[in-house]
Chain length 277, copies 2
């Protein structure tokens, strides 16, 4: 992207955090590969004054760029949105079209209350997420064995294959209590799962990784060690995959997958594919 | 929500993880407070066969509910999207309208490549996120003092005020290297910041919390302890806020804010409000 020719400014405007608009704009704009987008967040635009100040920033940028910026808006209040829409910009009203469609479909009016979508600071689901994060941190890397019966899923795999970030993502995004437990050479010598895990067999999900990539990752931590050697990584990965196959544990490779993709696959496999709003 | 009368099924359909569609649908649907939405994720729908199977699940649900489900789709391929659209459902094409608008504005065609939006498994930005998560974990709760000069931000505050989940969220969502460091009664007795933090003053951001809420949180960890007593919590919070004011550290209260809201405010305050796609 560094040497691409076309640049374009994007504003993310929201009466709340702007995370929805940012996720959405990123997904849509990544379909235009020849353009380098510089995104500026303008969160918490929840009053006419703030909207006017935001509109001024957008105007200024339009003059500086000599091109109207793209604006992705999740502003709910039409009055506030209108003040941004009138600036020199390509205004994308993310909610507008869909809210109207939904109002017709559901036969009711939306609340259109500013910031409503993210003010879940004290909701039950929110507290579940925070508890899940604490659970995943406490049960990282097999460090705390009590409480594994409360895990929704226990990730297993060799050291540095991606268990920790995946556990944390599952907890943070989906309130899933994800523990993780390392598979180590002693387990392979014994040819069996760690005893601690035996009661929780059905909760196990395996992660694996290409030995070459694993060696890279381990070398960042402990350069030049036996632990990071390609020979050691090859051995451990082969042993771990054999063990998981033998024990009938579902598993996947993390090598070319993002934590979002890995987490989604896990949720799918273990049947955690439903949510209630 | 438990006793609400209206229920409606929602399908999240994507050729990738569905996280964009899920975030978006959650934000839009939370504006209809009288309805309880049950969301079913159908990720990785990237072939005609999978689309047909998904369409069948939607058809079945339409019969079971005797109502067409809502479908939020981020399917990029029009052929695959068409197979879902033809099922009995209220089809919301999240990308369709905007992609066309953007194609006209930018004067170019989108790539419309399936799954493109999330196949960032090996990108630079993705690696930065994973490194930031590792950094935040290693610098949680002041446990590792070396490397603080590489932090983008260092969160400070009393024990259990929300520093850890916020640090992890900043790392995971924004690739921000967020360390955190506790303020403890010894610091308040001395009336000064921990020595370790003095070189990094300008990176400090404070979190505080209502003493009543703090006592609740601490009681979950150590029920009935002095540490969890309302008296102790009141004292620590008052001392911490006094210290932060005295030292000119920007801070906010986490009591009624979600980690998304807290993180967005921090990014805003410390000037980390830009992203490049």
């Amino acid at each position: 992207m560094a040497d691409s020719l076309i640049e374009r400014t994007v504003f993310i405007v929201s009466d709340s955090t702007g995370i929805t608009a940012e996720t959405f704009s990123h997904a849509v704009l990544s379909q235009f590969e020849e353009v380098r987008f510089e995104a500026i967040r303008l969160p918490f635009i929840d009053s006419a004054d703030k909207a006017d100040a935001a509109a001024q920033r957008i105007e200024q940028k339009a003059r500086d760029d000599a091109l109207p910026p793209l604006v992705f808006s999740t502003l709910v209040d039409p009055e506030i949105a209108g003040r941004i829409r009138n600036a020199s910009c390509i205004f994308m009203d993310l909610f507008g079209a869909f809210v109207q469609h939904l109002e017709e479909t559901l036969g009711m009016k939306s609340s259109r209350s500013v910031g409503r979508t993210h003010t879940n600071g004290l909701s039950k689901q929110y507290n579940k997420r925070i508890e899940a994060i604490n659970f995943s941190l406490a049960h990282d890397d097999g460090q705390f064995v009590q409480g594994l019966q409360q895990a929704d899923v226990i990730l297993v795999g060799v050291s540095r294959c991606g268990k920790t970030p995946t556990s944390l993502y599952l907890a943070m995004q989906y309130a899933v209590r994800a523990a993780n437990y390392p598979l180590i050479p002693e387990d392979f010598d014994r040819g069996a799962l760690p005893h601690t895990l035996l009661p929780y067999r059905r909760k196990l999900f395996g992660l694996s990784i290409q030995p070459e990539r694993l060696a890279e990752v381990r070398n960042e931590r402990r350069p030049g060690s036996v632990y990071a050697s390609l020979h050691q990584c090859r051995q451990e990965v082969a042993d771990a995959e054999r063990l998981m196959r033998m024990e009938g544990i579902p598993w996947l490779s993390t090598t070319t997958r993002s934590i979002e993709e890995i987490s989604t696959k896990i949720m799918d496999e273990v049947g955690l594919d439903r949510l209630t709003y």
